[in-house]
Amino acid sequence: MASLLDTDRPPVFCPGCSHERILFALDRAFQLLGLLTHEVVIVTDIGCSGLFDTFFKTHAFHGLHGRALTYAAGIKLARPELHVVVVMGDGGLGIGGAHFLAACRRNLDMTLLILNNFNFGMTGGQFSCTTPTGATTSSGFLNNLERPLDICSVAAAAGAPFVVRVAASEKKLDVRIVDALAFRGFSVVDIWSICTGRYLKRNPRVAKDLERRIEGMEPFDGPISANLRREYGEMYREALDRETQKTAAPGEMHVYFTPSIKTRREVVLLGSAGGQIISAGSLLARAAILGGMQVTQKNDYDVTVMRGPAVSELIISNEPILYPGVNKPDVLIALSKEGVKRRQALFYQTGETSLIIREPGVPVPNTAARVQTVDFHSFGIRKNKWALASLVILARRGDPVTLEMLKFAVEQTFDEKGRREFYGIMELTERFSDNLAVLKP
């Protein structure tokens, strides 16, 4: 097969640099596999290794330092049939550590060649994450304070199913690369190299040391049985096949009632996590939508979702809602102290026509609003149903939604158990329907 190298652009590496040897080995590997230029993409990032893509006639993607694996993943998922070869230096590996680990975990079918020459060549020979202890670099004493990384061990620990450690001087480098390219999954080849431009000058023994050091380390010669598993892209496409069988459930709603109000109502539920505050807000929203009204809902709760205050702010209007904030709350449902505290300011925005429904244990500020205390407990209503019960009380007055609308919303969204609970609450709250006179808007 023909070489994939661009004869108009011969390599420009320093004389003796391992990159050149690796370049030709890679090209031979492509030829041995019978690959054509358009069947390959070489993804590189910054450094002398980043020149690789310019010497080939293949597809080429040269991106940001350390990020080559991320572009490669996007390309491979978009074009599964493409052979994706990522070429990085030890420098790129250091800065792109998270992406390296993710690639090992994910096992997308691509090959990573690490041109490991123990320093940042291009920028002047600074130390990298693989610089051996005691080496001389242009980073002064810094590298002697750190320990180098064993790329292969890290790759294996992170889940890479195919890992090779090899010296660039290895006679059969092209074959090792062929094996890596042919492997169906994420293959890593850690190629120990000589940087003649920088590192070698300061560390003349590196060439002799290199092969000796590799021999003294745990060998990595290819497949790691404990990590062998299905390739990510294949599994992803299978998952997509399943997903595309699903019919979309867009959750469209329809209007079944005429609006019960001709104005804007602002209703805020104030409670605590576990009080089903948010779901009560959503239920009220749905009931209003069934009545052809415009609704906005904004929820507030702590990031520790099972604790702390829970607030649901609703604006219900028969006109499009412009300002989605609460100006003058029409109804405040105060079901816990911390809920009230979270939105204390709202109480001072109320007026004479505002209604506050409160549970006996929840103090509320003294304002012009009408206050209705409802001892839910005495009616046999459990704490986590107080919000729902409050909605029923509101609905009984027909503002902002009617009981019919609320029931319809429940029928649409609650399961069997939920519906039974709701009707139970309806029954329980009938008992204080006489008190509703004070609640009429």
Partner: protein, 376 residues
Amino acid sequence: MGLRFIDGNQAVALGAAYAGCRFFAAYPITPASSLLAEMLVLLPQKGGIVLQGEDEIACIGYCLGASMAGMKAMTASSGPGLSLYSENISFAIAGEIPIVIVNVMRQGPSTGAATLGADGDIQFLRWGSSGGLPVVVLAPSDLRDCFTLTVHAFNIAERLRCPVFIASNKEIGMTRETLDIYTVEKPPVFERKEHTEGPFLPFAVREGEDVPRFLPIGGPISVRQTSSTHGTAGYITTNPVEIQESVERLKRKIESQLSSFTFYDIYDEPGAKILVVSYGVTARAAREAVAMVKAKAGLKVSLLVLKTLFPVPDDVLKDAARDMERILVVEMNLGQYVLEIRRVLCNQRVDFYGKMNGRLIAPFEIARELSNGFSA
């Protein structure tokens, strides 16, 4: 009637799916996470790919790779994520890679407050890349905008081969509202123009055009992409003539097309001498405020709601501000877009009102500013 009760993030997702986005990658972050959740529902059913990356840098990286391979790609985050996107945004500009980036803005600086809205990243969106080349920033103010502007965003990204931002806000992204999906404006969807004949130079442009014709990585003709300063063939260049031509083209490419994507609403009050300029969620409060002062005090105020923020639509601003004695800019920050307005309307009085305290700016506050004269 297709009534949905969804938040702004979901509306953006629906717009993206409609526009043909089939690759989405994001990292969970409040207040953008519901966009990721919605895309996970929408895209796989259409055979689209959704990824949750190891970090935001990976997410935008995946998108750039997928986009160069021919897919319409989008990512979404908030301020902290935008900060991580920055280097790759520069790459998207340099490499002319179509991508839509949603920033659901939240209270900053830094980690700030995840559950509080703000417009704190407006200038960051414009200038958060090395080299300072123009980008496109669209700002929705409600659900309908979230859908429609996202479709426009994809069209612009594909046509001009550039990053396009959606400047959303927690107050839009995470507030659920009623939306009739059947009546929302659905612009026609455009695709990137492909190279059809002759030798292929990835960054060459035809006579009279500013956007290189596209070929995908992985297609039958080899394609080069690079973040380095390059010539038309995609190889590094240090030639000053080539470089200047290239950066000027990147600038012209966007700015010359502004009139084709200048979106705004103008509420013109005949005889008004005061103009309010706003965008995003605050524009909705401004609409109420303007109606309020007219009803209560007979004060005539015009309102310009901008939806294209960058490049700055100078002509629209000048037109709206003509004959105005006072311009009031309202935004949820310490005064960012007002800088552009003061620059463009340099001979006119431009006042600013804004807060960045995690609370919506209420209509009565804007009305008060209008009635009492302005804060400087």
